[in-house]
């Protein structure tokens, strides 16, 4: 029981971290919370369903195409909606919230209220450590999720673009003085934030089928991860995801299943009370 909860918690935790990375990136660079983050996740799930199931493309091709499409949509959204609100947090909150509802009702009109699911990549189940059976698709999702997180951190540490992102999230003015076009960086990083949501979406939609409103809990979990890890801290966000996954699953196993998701909010309240800057956040808030 304990081993199963811990394994489950780690799997879910990696997944939470993956969905939260995009939020963390956008907060760090632009100080904007994208309330439509969960809907971009769902959008990618629908795209990959369309490409792989309806059009019959190879699942991997469908996934790449979906991520690219969501990246482009994210760039358009930044350019048309978010850019004019720089410096006015109020309107970016309101605009992304309205956007999330608009996307949800569009999904409902186009795809209906039924769960949709792209085909699995692998079949069957594996016996983990000789203790319990675990679905192969879940294990594959775990590996893919960890790979995306690793790739993202490698990009952040090793490439010139990653250096620009780190510089801008540390000190925006200083980065500008050193010749970084922060306007373009904003656009790219918003697009990347959406693409990260999309990566999570295509990886997870075979396991958790997408419905029009399924993005809300996804986004909420991502927000709690980001606050727990510290706004704008990428490592914090991964740590936050793992902690949340573990707490949720241990709580579900030993306290109450129905209130599984409430534990997460209890953590949020504790963080706000005790350490508002989060695990790895900068102390000025």
């Amino acid at each position: 029981m304990l081993a199963l909860s811990i394994t489950n918690g780690l799997v879910i935790g990696i997944i939470y971290a993956l969905t939260a990375l995009g939020v963390s990136l956008v907060v760090g660079i632009m100080n904007v919370i994208n309330f439509a983050h969960g809907e971009f996740y769902i959008l990618a799930g629908y795209f990959s369903y369309l490409f792989a199931h309806t059009m019959g493309l190879d699942p991997v091709v469908a996934m790449v195409l979906s991520i690219a499409a969501v990246f482009l949509i994210g760039i358009v959204v930044e350019y048309t909606l978010i850019r004019p609100t720089y410096g006015d947090d109020l309107y970016s909150l309101i605009l992304t919230f309205i956007l999330s509802i608009v996307m949800q009702s569009t999904f409902l009109l186009v795809f209906g209220p039924f769960p949709n699911k792209p085909p699995n990549w692998v079949k069957g189940a594996t016996n983990v450590f000789g203790l319990f059976l675990y679905g192969n698709q879940r294990l594959a999702a775990l590996i893919a999720g960890a790979a995306v997180i690793a790739l993202f951190f490698a990009m952040l540490k090793l490439t010139w673009f990653g250096r620009m992102i780190r510089a801008t999230s540390q000190d925006r003015e200083m980065a500008e003085l050193n010749g970084i076009n922060t306007r373009r960086l904003n656009m790219l990083s918003f697009g990347m934030g959406c693409a990260l949501a999309a990566a999570a979406g295509v990886i997870l939609s075979p396991v958790f089928p997408v419905t029009p409103s399924a993005g809300v809990p996804v986004a909420l979990t991502a927000f709690v991860c980001v606050v727990l890890g510290g706004m704008g801290s990428m490592w914090g966000c991964v740590a936050g995801g793992l902690v949340l996954g573990l707490v949720e699953n241990l709580g579900a196993a030993f306290v109450s299943t129905g209130y599984k998701h409430v534990f997460m909010y209890l953590i949020l309240i504790l963080v706000l009370l005790i350490r508002p800057s989060g695990l790895f956040g900068r102390s000025e808030t």
């Binding site: 907060v27 100080n31 919370i33 309330f35 048309t80 909606l81 004019p84 947090d89 109020l90 309107y91 909150l93 309101i94 605009l95 919230f97 309205i98 956007l99 509802i101 608009v102 009702s105 569009t106 009109l109 809300v216 809990p217 909420l220 927000f223 709690v224 606050v227 706004m231 129905g258 209130y259 998701h261 409430v262 909010y265 949020l268 309240i269 706000l272 009370l273 508002p276 808030t285």
Partner: protein, 321 residues
């Protein structure tokens, strides 16, 4: 100036009387629309107190209405408490929760309030669905009405009184010294703090009052519908209140009133063609928030300004700065 003020007052009073007499000439269906519109006036006006005047966005306004509705409904249906006492209790409970959430996250600034209130509304949903023995979950909780005899006309006057009370509270607050502090905090937090305005206290107060008013609106609404469902504290409801305020005019006193009536009446017409009203309002609200952040009131004002300037200086090009 005095002459004009008294004239305006008379006009306002005459308009109110005409409005109060209106439902006598309407059928039951149109009376219902007016009652629902008045509920949205309460919701939008109190949300506007927070968002429009202190610049804090709460996504839990519908959740606070839900707290009012469920508290009052459960007291009346399970403990046999008089519904009016229930409404008072619901309002109080929403105020207490608003105060607690407020002190928890308002010292941290805007983004945290939005995140926490969104989480708060999610917690409420989980609780309502898990405690279905008490709340009846998505089936809905049947509650008694406010009056021994059900009459749409009587409910109309109750809701009119509620809306006037809400508008009165909002008006008094924004036209007091406190209201000045509200706007100072919205315009420049640091400058306001340096002049001795207790920024956190001002925000917590605005949030508490706004949540209490939402709780009252929700409690009244529950006893009007006679069935309390998780639809009252839903995100869709929150979205409607938000778009009414944004489209009507955030940060203006009449904006939410215009938005509430306009959108509720429109949604009844759109409903004839299917459930498109959420999508339609969403697109309009996006466009308004992006291109006319002051809403309909702002558009009217700038058109009026332009006309007046053109009348005073006919030689100038008709463009406001």
């Amino acid at each position: 100036m005095d002459m004009r003020m008294t004239k305006n007052r008379w006009l306002l009073a005459a308009g109110l009387v005409a409005f109060a007499l209106l439902p006598w000439g309407l059928g039951v269906y149109h009376q219902h629309i007016m009652i629902v519109s008045l509920f949205y006036v309460m919701m939008a006006a109190s949300w506007n107190l927070l968002a429009g005047y202190t610049g804090q966005v709460s996504f839990g306004h519908a959740a606070f209405a839900g707290i009012g509705a469920y508290a009052s409904g459960i007291l009346a249906a399970k403990a046999g408490v008089n519904p009016w006492v229930g409404v008072a209790a619901g309002t109080l409970l929403a105020a207490i929760f608003g105060f607690l959430v407020g002190i928890l996250c308002l010292k941290l600034g805007g983004i945290y309030l939005s995140l926490t209130t969104l989480g708060f509304s999610e917690i409420l949903h989980i609780i309502i669905n898990n405690e279905y023995e008490i709340t009846r979950g998505t089936m809905g909780l049947q509650v008694p009405g406010l009056l021994s005899e059900y009459s749409k006309l009587a409910y109309f006057y109750i809701f009119l009184a509620g809306a006037l009370l809400t508008l009165g509270v909002v008006y008094r607050l924004i036209h007091s010294d406190l209201g000045l502090n509200f706007r100072a905090v919205q315009n420049d937090e640091r400058a306001a703090a340096s002049l001795g305005v207790d920024v956190v206290k001002v925000r917590v107060l605005a949030f508490t009052v706004s949540s209490a008013l939402a709780g009252m609106a929700g409690a009244l609404y529950g006893h009007y519908l006679l069935l309390i469902t998780p639809q009252i504290p839903s995100l869709d409801q929150q979205f409607l209140v938000l778009s009414m305020t944004v489209i009507g005019g955030m940060g203006s006193f009449v904006g939410p009133v215009i938005g509430a009536f306009g959108l509720e009446i429109l949604s009844e017409y759109i409903r004839a063609y299917g459930e498109y009203h959420v999508l339609a309002f969403g697109l309009v609200a996006l466009a308004v928030a992006r291109f006319a952040p002051r809403g309909m009131v702002g558009i009217f004002r700038s058109v009026w300004e332009r006309r007046r300037q053109a009348a005073v200086h006919p030689s100038l090009p008709a463009e406001s700065p």
